[in-house]
């Protein structure tokens, strides 16, 4: 059985990638998962410099989901390269570095710095974090901005470039098209949905940042729809995510058009989820006589709806 997937020069043995911000820098999970057994590890969003992030409370639970406003606390790219990347390389992880900037120049500089390092598999451009004012969201919410940042980074690196799209726009598929036109190797979506939770007794927001990003199973059907729309708009690989908890959820994204998937919030609930999803994918392939998992991508059959019991 072949579960492999290729994104530009990055070859992954399976389509399961740890979602950025939900897996630390990867090394935090070395004792619970063999990092080399994952398709890839998208590390926590990195700026050029270290950041403290927002004061707590940084998360709050909502029905079937959670809001977060971490504020991209991080160690900055240089400490990442010195302290984390060598160990990730040793562990055999295929590292996708999620990069964040406030200007196009910052994205370009991060891309140049990371391109010189051994062990970086791809760059995921975070132009979609809803929780920080000065972050790349201004690029992610404008078609020309998306095109500009992707083409600038494209020129600065030979690494696979994967802009991560926001769901907080009317038509994400138009952003997928802008990214493809600008030379992206793949797109990933969705980042979190901008959201608000209020304590009615005190009339105060539940997060220090007031607003946060919604993730988890609550967002899955919307994310699946967005992946499906993007699949019709672009040819490049799509990395789908949003509320994947088990193999069925991962398969749903792939059938909608995702070549690979990322798992974020589910890893908080169950850090051993990876092996379970991988087993679920292989048993599905056996049951459906699928030799190459990539053959499943974008195969939704719209000729009739599924039987009600399915």
């Amino acid at each position: 059985m072949d579960l492999s997937v290729r994104i530009g020069s990055l070859e992954m043995p399976n389509p399961l990638i740890a979602a950025s911000g939900c897996f630390g820098y990867g090394l935090e999970y070395e004792e619970v998962v063999n990092l080399a057994s994952l398709g890839g590890v998208a590390v926590k969003g990195l700026f050029l410099n270290a950041r403290e992030g927002h004061p707590p409370p940084r998360i709050v639970e909502t029905p079937s989901g959670m809001l977060n406003a971490i504020g991209l606390q991080g160690i900055g790219v240089h400490r990442f390269i010195d302290e984390r990347l060598p160990r990730l390389r040793e562990a055999g992880a295929r590292v996708i570095v999620n990069i964040c900037g406030t200007t196009i120049d910052e994205y370009v500089e991060l891309a140049k710095i990371l391109s010189q390092e051994e062990g970086v598999g791809a760059l995921e451009l975070n132009i979609s974090c809803p929780n920080i004012k000065e972050g790349g969201i201004q690029f992610g919410c404008s078609l020309t901005g998306t095109h500009a940042v992707v083409s600038a980074v494209r020129k600065a690196t030979t690494l696979p470039v994967i802009p991560k799209l926001t769901p907080n726009v009317t038509a994400p598929a138009t952003f997928a098209r802008a990214a493809e036109d600008a030379g992206a190797d793949a797109i990933s979506l969705v980042n979190t949905f901008l959201a608000l939770a209020i304590d009615v007794e005190s009339r105060r927001p539940r997060l220090s940042n007031v607003l946060g990003g919604l993730s988890g199973p609550a967002i899955r059907p919307i994310a699946v729809r967005m992946v499906w729309e993007c699949r019709q708009e672009v040819k490049i690989p799509i990395i789908g995510m949003g509320g994947i908890m088990d193999a069925r959820d991962a398969l749903e994204f792939m059938i909608a058009g995702a070549n690979a998937v990322q798992i974020g919030t589910a890893n908080f609930v169950d850090p051993f989820v990876w092996g379970k999803i991988l087993d679920g994918l292989t048993s599905y392939m056996q049951r459906h006589s699928i030799a190459r998992l990539q053959d499943l991508v974008g195969t939704m059959d719209t000729s009739a709806p599924a039987a009600a019991h399915a």
Binding site: E31, E52, E61, N267, F268, P271
Partner: protein
């Protein structure tokens, strides 16, 4: 980097649920594999049932590590106080129910300095990490005292457990129904004042944040080392999400930094934490 044992995820059966009061209960869970690895101060990430609402696990101190007559670990327990949805569910569970337990997690208490005493300061459900610590102290033959405060005398639990281990007990209740009338920090302050300083008495504290801040300040004023066990809203327990951060000052750096309480804590040097 922090070195730790690999945590285990055990789908544990509830062996018993002893309701101590209308709010507090002790849930005994068949997760001996976790118990055998647990050091005092470590915690579990717990989730009753598989549902998605609530979605995330909750952090709980390991309360007891229960052994049979031969000393083999048979189970662990958690001390629960019902406040929200998960704790409400944990209060009502019956034997046979399943609770997912991930652990042991976090950095444990450090043993007291050589030849010194250990003082444990507990507020309410903050008693939880001290049962295992008291056992470890007894095994090390360290003289131990428990300063234990609650709203009322009816919410003071497990006193016999600590007495059996030879722990000296000092009680305080907010309604004055047992022990000193008022906060547990009142008798603590008196006792600290009677110590020779700088001392070799390590103060360990767990409870509401204002109590922890007060204990840390008192210990610092009387020049005694102090460790606090903090409770934070936690997403994952493994350092993945950066939600449970605590502002901490490290030596030589005037600027406090947010550190993850799940891996750098939950036990912190009381003098390093920046209290609000």
């Amino acid at each position: 980097m922090i070195v730790r044992m690999s945590p285990l995820d055990i789908d544990a059966t509830v062996i018993s649920n002893v309701r101590l009061s209308a709010d507090y209960n002790v849930l005994t869970l068949a997760a001996p594999e976790i118990g055998a690895e647990t050091e005092p101060g470590q915690f579990l990430m717990v989730k009753p049932g598989l549902g998605t609402d609530p979605l995330l696990r909750r952090p709980f101190s390991v309360f007891e590590v229960l052994r049979d007559d031969l000393g083999t670990v048979r189970a662990i327990s958690i001390l629960n106080k019902r406040a929200g949805v998960t704790t409400g569910r944990l209060y009502t569970l019956e034997p046979g129910a399943r609770v997912a337990c991930l652990g042991p997690l976090g950095t444990p208490f450090t043993p007291p300095v050589n030849g010194g005493e250990a003082w444990m300061v507990a507020g309410g459900v903050g008693l939880a990490p001290f049962a295992t610590l008291a056992e470890a102290l007894a095994a090390l033959e360290v003289p131990a005292t428990l300063f234990y405060g609650a709203r009322t005398g009816e919410e003071l639990f497990y006193l016999e457990f600590f007495e059996r281990l030879g722990v000296r007990i000092v009680l305080a209740t907010e309604d004055g129904s047992r022990g000193t009338h008022g906060r547990v920090t009142v008798p603590l302050e008196t006792a600290l004042g009677a110590l020779p300083a700088p001392g070799a008495t390590t103060v360990y504290a767990c409870g509401p944040e204002p109590m922890l801040a007060a204990v840390a300040r008192l210990a610092a004023r009387h020049d005694q080392p102090c460790e606090v066990s903090l409770e934070r809203v936690m997403g994952c327990g493994l350092g993945g999400c950066y939600s449970c951060v605590v502002p901490v000052r490290s030596p030589g750096d005037p600027q406090p930094h947010f550190v993850r309480s799940c891996i750098a804590g939950p036990v912190f040097d009381g003098a390093a934490v920046v209290w609000e």
